[in-house]
Amino acid sequence: MLLSPNAMGRPLRTGLYLTTGIIAAFLLLPVVFIVLLSFGSSQWLVFPPPGWTFKWYDQFFSNPEWMDAALASLKVAVLTTFAAVALGLPTAFALVRGRFPGRELLYGLFTMPMIVPLVIIAVAVYALFLKLGYTGTLFAFVVSHVIVALPFTIISIINSLKLFDQSIEDAAVICGASRLQAIVKVTFPAIRPGMIAGGLFAFLVSWDEVVLSVMMASPDLQTLPVKMWTTLRQDLSPVIAVASTLLIGLSILVMFIASALRRRNETNA
């Protein structure tokens, strides 16, 4: 290959490593800063911190408003996960297996929320739910999050379904299983990693979603990012850094699970 790191000259290679390092640092530094600041003793988010403390964590976990928001976030994310998989599974089957006119168009439609500016979706959903009187409900949060999470779930399931050799399902059918039995007993176990990855993506999308959530939120029900957003506008407390750290921590955990599953799937295949 022309651009193999081994084939290029030493100066070029050093340059490449340097650029990669700078980009990685640029992406990671804010995360590192915020995590460090959550343990800093100054209440003005001074860097480097004058000392180290757990008191902001104490404040976070003892404040019912933060805890409610964290719990609401978790609830919304879990419900979004299950709803996205439940809707994404049949959609992916239809898009992969279906032989009907407009299939490509439908695929475009289902993946459109990835391209359409989030704020436009947010305004549209807000206007609709305002009219129906659903704003501020768990239902509104989950529905709006599913809209933006579904493309990721569908793409993930479509990918594993395309890799699945359908003659394996046909073999189950000729062995006496009905098409539905064959799908449940043979196809689902085979595409399970894709289903789980799709669910985890949906979880991550919902977990750090803020634009839609700000629109859906009410004083009684708000998610963690919304609570951070509103708190930020009043004062710059290190508790926000704690909330950020927790958001990041759970996201990293979920990503680890997803990549571990993908690796296991690859070694199985």
Binding site: D170, A171, V173, G176
Partner: protein, 382 residues
Amino acid sequence: MSAVIKEAAHGKTLVTLRNLNKHYGDFAAVDNISLDIQDGEFLTFLGSSGSGKSTTLSMLAGFETPSSGEILVEGRSLVNVPPHKRDIGMVFQRYSLFPHLSVRDNIAFPLAIRKLGSAEIAKRVDAMLKLVQLETFAHRRPAQLSGGQQQRVAIARALVYEPRILLMDEPLGALDKKLREDLQDELRQLHRRLGITIVYVTHDQEEAMRLSQRIAIFSHGKIVGLGSGYDLYQNPPNAFVASFLGNSNFLRVTASSHGAAAFEGQSLAIRLTSGLAADQDALIMVRPEKALALSTEQATREPLPAGWNEVNAKVGEVLFLGESQTCQVVTAGGTEMTVKALSAAGMPMQPGDTVKVRWVVADACVYTEWAESDLSKAAGAH
């Protein structure tokens, strides 16, 4: 006709395909096929890809619905029976084992779906494992088996519920030559032992010859030849089958009188052929191994026996192929011919030598109708 075929012909018909069609838009993948499959026979659909053989098999399995026509098993229509209720076994090209189940559970799957008792399932699975000699591999996953072992599991899974018909869609295509030949032998023995009806799809004519009692040759969605490998090879029903199976020499002749024809200005004796009028163009086909090439000296030593033909030709190339040798020759009129002989018989000619090519009149087939495309190899696909 060989003894095996006579046996099969005495058997009763198990499956009947009647005017079977499968159209995709204007395209006829399967074009009005009618065929009787005998109970207990090993029948092979042979053809190049796109010839309609796999689509026909798919309709038998129930994965494709015929556009029109009937599929009957012992007189009962199968067309509206869904595939999982057809009680047909099938082995796929890519094995298609269930990746998340062990060998034992793969084989048990059809029985578990039929809700058989666990003792009965265990008994039958054990018998199958023994049949395909995989007892020691029962607890492995498919990914831990070789290709040949996986295909044996697939065969066991297809046989465990004792279907009367076993469909096999190029099941050995993914295996290397040696393993393929071993499995072909196993398959032939299995068929003999179980007496099950097997419909086998392949594009490999040697495999078809090795395995089957009858071969159906597919081309452009039609069956263009049906019979034992022996009959199809020795007496091809048309020029396409002659050219598709093995190698062949075609000589363009013009019929002159009964049993005679003109070839490049020379008179040849031909088989008596019905429907052949004087001055009609015809084609005679001689298999390379049925023709002899004699040097001028040999030819003077051995005069032409009665019932033989002889044409003059010039040697183009002599090839040594191990157990056999071939000699390419060209006649004065530009017709190319190949003569094949066992190496043991010797072939002492050199390129440029003048030879006499001889063959027995009765060994040469005569065709009155053909398409030019029939005469080129691998012309069966759309």
